[in-house]
Symmetry: C2
Subunit: 326 residues, 2 copies
């Protein structure tokens, strides 16, 4: 346990989550003495909370390759080992995303049939959110990768929200079949040929926010750019509004109404902070909560991990991609 | 002359532009009788305004290939012929973008050395705007294409704003040299090897709005997605704000301050409406004003065309890419 806010918010979030879900067990991985001292004043069901000591932490600026080699005593490494060995059913981390992906691939391994793990996060949309993947784990993708992302995204939507037939779309530059790169067109054929998927067709950048799409599939380059453009646009609009507001007293009053809306959106889409981003395709449930997680958002990430475990996410992906391969 | 708003706004814009720039001559291409009747009540310097009759128009939903074949009597076709034959120095059109690109390629031809024409439009940014290209004319690009976009974008920035050394960035998923696709990395080498270009390095999606970048280069797939994500984000924020505002009287008052800011942004970044988008790489200055152009924005497109002509945009691109090729 590390994360920008240190132990405090992850421990508070864990205790809240235990209170809210009586079926939940949590193992806190980190410096045992520090964890114990943080827990001292709290009331909790000690039968459902254990501690696993790890002396080291992965820093937010550690290179993934170096973390993998030199941080075997870190809480991140240890937590993934617990998952690999069946001691826990899922891992939630607010640590370094690159290190988490790298360690996940080595310690947990990919599921059989999975060619590339992907990062999938919710982007706010009308009436809820759209799950979008990949968000940067795979910069260059072929059609088969995109097809696998569709399968994994659909499985996540099913596990998290219980959707039987999540509506899948492929991000493209137009809705017509003739549009797009050869990779996107070939991926569309692979996805629509799989009758287990509810593929609704190509979608465009603005459709991310549509209430008609549950899962938006794209390569990690496009996904990363799209998410950062979201963030940049929101930031830019905030700046323009602020300038307008500052011009009058009336404007300053208006700002009080607008600020919370923009702040909430900004927080939701900040790509440095994918809150509740799932690393899909690994042999185990791994959820990344953002580095500067508030108690509430870390709590949400814990519940998300629990839902993914209960929804048998890993098995769902394994069985569908295994079938595809054979 | 066609466009969603018909003749009225383009004629008013033309008369205003003639008043504002005494060096300007305008040739209105379209149905002569309709143009003459629109001009009846107006005062203007008839020595600087001529009319060229064309009986047909390209519709907004005409397929580019069909427009090219069947609309040789259209105002768009005729205007590009006037440019090709040296009768005018630039063309401004509010018509069908696809048809304009296709007709431009055939009637004007590409400049020697230019591999692909590109669509370049201003995206609002802090302290002004960032010129971004390509915005959808070229869905699959190699490193040489991106390099040529950089040259053409820099030439446009120079012609429009008189910048001697426009700051160029390549859109990527991170600022570090090791980031990105092989195409983007190779393009970075080509661009930085050209000492005439002021290349500042990789930039991310949120940097489009930065005041430190004059020209952002990307392939047409990424550019199209990025622009539509901008539009979608702005639209989504507007929707969220509206909901918040509607909850109280005070909120409804705040909406009055916010609405014009969001409307202006939305209009600027609507990809269906690239206002003042330049088609770069053709043998002549062609500016696309958006279909639903207001008088003011059509006027801006006319002034932009005039600046591009005065700044010798076509020659600047030709000489730099010709040198590169030889």
């Amino acid at each position: 346990m590390s994360g920008d806010h240190g132990l405090r918010s992850s421990i508070s979030a864990s205790l809240n989550a235990l209170n809210q879900n009586s079926a939940l067990h949590i193992c806190l991985v980190g410096d045992e003495a520090a964890i114990r001292s943080s827990l001292l004043a709290s009331n909790y069901d000690s039968a459902r909370l254990s501690i696993c000591h790890s002396p080291d932490v992965v820093a937010m600026d550690d290179l993934p390759s170096k973390a993998l080699r030199y941080k075997k005593q870190s809480s991140m490494y240890r937590a993934l080992e617990l998952l690999r060995d069946g001691n826990v059913a899922g891992v939630v981390s607010a640590g370094n995303t690159g290190a988490l992906v790298a360690m996940g691939c080595i310690i947990l391994d990919r599921l059989p049939g999975v060619r590339r793990p992907a990062i999938c996060a919710p982007v706010p949309a009308k009436n809820g959110y759209t799950l979008m993947l990949d968000l940067g784990a795979n910069i260059e993708c072929d059609a088969e990768h995109l097809y696998q992302f569709a399968v994994m995204g659909a499985a996540l939507s099913n596990a998290l929200d219980g959707r039987d037939a999540p509506r899948l779309a492929l991000l493209n530059v137009g809705a017509e079949l003739i549009k797009g790169t050869s990779v996107v067109k070939e991926a569309a054929e692979l996805i629509s040929a799989d009758s287990r998927l509810n593929y609704i067709g190509f979608a465009e950048g603005n459709d991310i926010f549509s209430e008609n799409i549950d899962v938006m599939v794209c390569d990690g380059f496009t996904g990363n750019v799209a998410l950062k453009v979201c963030e940049g646009t929101a930031n830019f609009i905030r700046g323009q509004l602020k300038e307008t507001f500052m011009k009058s007293l009336y404007g300053r009053l208006a700002a009080l109404v607008v600020k919370p809306v923009l702040n909430a959106f900004q927080k939701d889409i900040n790509p440095e902070r994918y809150n509740g981003a799932a690393l899909l395709g690994l042999n185990g449930v791994v959820i990344k909560s953002h580095g500067g997680s508030s108690v509430k958002s870390f709590e949400a990430a814990i519940h998300q991990a629990a839902r993914a475990v209960r929804g048998d996410l890993t098995q769902a992906i394994a069985s569908q991609l295994h079938t595809t391969e054979s």
